[in-house]
Amino acid sequence: MSLVGPLILATFLFCVGIYGVIARRNAVLVLISVELMLNAVNINLVAFQNLLFPDELAVSGLMFALFIIGVAAAEVGVGLAIVFNMFRNRASVNVDDVDLMRW
């Protein structure tokens, strides 16, 4: 199996995530795009682990992917809580509306 396929797929997902972060206005959709980018990195890590270094005993690639999944879950929880706070204070989840720091 070629290594290029998973890497190109991961790159594509990452770039789709970047497009979503830049182009979307809804804060929840921005969080969704960040989630896409984190998953792209996971594909990269697993591909390198299982295709290039399958005999490593401390399975670093799989471990990093597991930790990234855990941290991503925490990030989604806190991020959604912040978005809820924003919605309660501003009645909007538009990222362009939160411009208090731009004078």
Binding site: C15, I22, P54, A58, G70, L80
Partner: protein, 206 residues
């Protein structure tokens, strides 16, 4: 091109299509469901890469919990539906940045790994993963548990409605249900419930 490559291409096409739908969908709920499809496709990619345990974790944590969390978030924030409301003005900028980065990274990947190919894909067994977690990665594992605990408490503190330090609920969230039982009604019901022993015995026989 082996059979594994064919399966991978199919799963990858599914995943990529769902990802594109996620960032272009006009409907918020469709976007969240497309995200769930993308995450499931990623689990399929893990399966093709012989990372069974990670595929299961991906299904349980990301498809099961995170996607549902996003659906909750979308429904609780009542966002407007429609492309003009969802997309900002800099869609062209986003396309340029994402496309440029994709071309750049793809060129680098093909230049670096274009000829690398593996005949036999082998994944670590779940036994090796367990030993690795509790031998080599114990400290990050425990740190991750503390991070999850902190995120849990922080999310609750951020998201709950509260007027001040007293912990009293805000007026807007208090739900008044009609026909609350008064003190007299409660006493009367209590009196009616306390029946003599004979009646209780009869009730028991019936």
């Amino acid at each position: 091109m082996t059979g594994l490559d064919v399966v991978f291409v199919l799963v990858a096409l599914f995943t990529a299509g769902a990802a594109v739908l996620t960032v272009t969908s006009k409907n918020l709920v469709h976007a969240a469901l497309s995200l769930a499809a993308t995450l499931a496709g990623t689990a399929g990619v893990f399966l093709v890469l012989h990372a069974d345990f990670l595929a299961l974790v991906q299904l349980v944590v990301n498809v099961g919990a995170v996607a549902v969390l996003f659906l909750f978030g979308l429904m609780l924030t009542r966002a407007p539906i429609g492309r003009e409301a969802l997309d900002s003005q800099n869609r062209g900028l986003g396309l340029a940045v994402a496309g440029g980065l994709f071309v750049l990274l793809s060129g680098l990947i093909i230049a670096a790994f274009g000829t690398t190919s593996v005949e036999q894909v082998t994944g670590a067994s779940i036994e090796v993963i367990g030993i690795a977690i509790f031998a080599d990665w114990v400290l990050p594992f425990e740190l991750l548990s503390m991070l999850l605990l902190g995120a849990l408490i922080g999310a609750i503190m951020l998201a709950r409605r509260e007027t001040g330090e007293s912990g009293e609920e805000a007026m807007a969230t208090r739900i008044d249900v009609g026909d609350t039982p008064t003190a007299e009604g409660g006493v009367r019901a209590e009196l009616e419930n306390t029946t003599p022993a004979g009646q209780l015995g009869a009730g028991g026989d019936r």
